[in-house]
């Protein structure tokens, strides 16, 4: 049994709370224990670094300080939280000025930048393993033709070495294959969904997320799979922002695990684009389909 410290982040406690429940359920199934960071705070996302770099560093440092107390590796499923926290830890470890600034500002908390930060794909690959995942599927999800969508911040973090290819990542492809889904090749794995512009300029999100939906359809997909709560929401919102496009359901990676392990995804009612057709097509493995 492995334990990880866990940083859900703001989205997973509000607009994507069903992602939090989904990943807890799936990781519990595999015997991974999550210990939520005690009194964690917002990572600052894109807003803090655009306004004031020192403030952004302090916000990420606070969560790193909490994580370091446990000595466990830290799981951050939200791409923004992952990017900010991972980049923050490396910067604290490598830059004396920043280390001094954040320790002074946050005292009596102390932080060294030693924590290992993992995203959900890395967590599945490293702590559960592909063989175990392949062996654990109880339902046939072969009807799923998935395009894996990674977005910007999973691999493209400046000054941070990526565990996957930065332009053509494949970690999620491997996991989906292991679960029994068909994974389709496409070129939009790491394109931008429009990020936070959905509030200030929804036409921008309509354009960028709409392009991703269009390309998913052209690739022949009936499912888009992502790990980032903002990407999921923006793509899901195309049902309103782009009525001209076909509706392709946008699942979190852990929901595909739910389908393969349990035959249904508990959070399906929270999807803006209906997931009913996909869920209806899942069958128990070795069962009599007639």
């Amino acid at each position: 049994m492995i334990s990880l410290s866990y940083y859900p982040g703001c989205s997973l406690t509000s607009s994507s709370a069903f992602y939090d429940r989904s990943l807890r359920k799936v990781l519990t199934f595999y015997g991974v224990r999550l210990r939520e960071l005690e009194d964690w705070s917002c990572c600052g996302a894109a807003a803090a670094p655009a306004m004031n770099e020192d403030l952004a560093d302090v916000l990420s440092a606070r969560n790193i300080a909490i994580a370091e107390r446990s000595g466990l590796h830290l799981l951050a499923p939200c791409s923004a939280c992952y990017a900010r926290t991972k980049a923050g830890a490396l910067k604290i470890a490598g830059h004396r000025r920043m280390r001094e600034l954040v320790n002074e500002t946050l005292a009596p908390m102390s932080v060294s930048g030693s924590v290992e930060v993992k995203n959900i794909i890395e967590a599945f690959l490293e702590y559960v393993g592909v063989e175990r995942i392949a062996a654990s599927a109880a339902y046939d999800i072969g009807s799923i033709r998935a395009v894996p969508y990674y977005g910007c911040l999973l691999t493209r973090i400046m000054d941070v070495p990526s565990s996957d290819d930065v332009e053509d990542p494949s970690g999620m492809d491997v996991l989906l294959n292991a679960l029994g889904a068909a994974v389709l090749p496409w070129q939009f794995k790491t394109e931008c969904c429009g990020a936070g512009s959905t509030v200030t300029d929804s036409d921008r999100t309509a354009q960028l997320s709409g392009r991703i939906m269009t390309m998913a359809q052209k690739a022949g997909a009936n499912v888009i799979v992502t790990t980032c709560p903002l990407c999921q929401l923006n793509l899901d919102l195309t049902v309103h922002l782009r009525r001209d496009l076909a509706d392709i359901p946008v699942f979190f990676l852990t929901e595909i695990f739910e389908l393969a392990l349990f035959g249904s995804a508990a959070g399906s009612k929270h999807h803006l684009i209906s997931t009913a057709d996909i869920e209806g097509s899942v069958e128990i493995l070795g069962g009599d389909s007639a």
Binding site: S14, S41, A50, D54, L55, V199, T200, L272
Partner: protein, 178 residues
Amino acid sequence: MPHPSFLDEIETRSGVTVSECYQCCRCTNGCPVARDMGIVPHRVIGHILNGQRDKVLASTSPWKCLQCATCSLRCPNGIDIAHVFETLRQLAIESGLAVKNDVWHFDHLIIDSVARHGRLCELATIIRYRLSKKEFLKDAAMGLDMMKKGRIGLSSHNVRDRKRLGTVIRDMRERRDT
């Protein structure tokens, strides 16, 4: 009027060696929003090299950038262009040259929420933004559907240590803003 010191100002503030740029355009080619930028990314960098301070700081480009960092990844000279754009936002505001934009305003509301609660309260922040813009009905159908499907968090989650964190955030903002 060119400001020859502008290049120094950008390099010192951002820590990025902009002067290595040889205008290959790879940043612009990869940029998902270049078509909406008044000045496309490689030209922004070119203007920095030529000391065109006012032109760059008054442009819409830093505010159109989504920080996807495709430009930075693909730059053959390792120039972190996305980070330079963050620096440009800060300098544009500080110099009073920034064009009117909603991005800065919304970012402030996000950090306000974090200063108050320790976490982002999505609904309150979006409502504050809509009220300030007098956009009472913008995307209302979309908002209703999100509400119905439980995609908008109604409760705010307060961090226990929020008072101390709030003081830290306000102090750091004042230090920079004044």
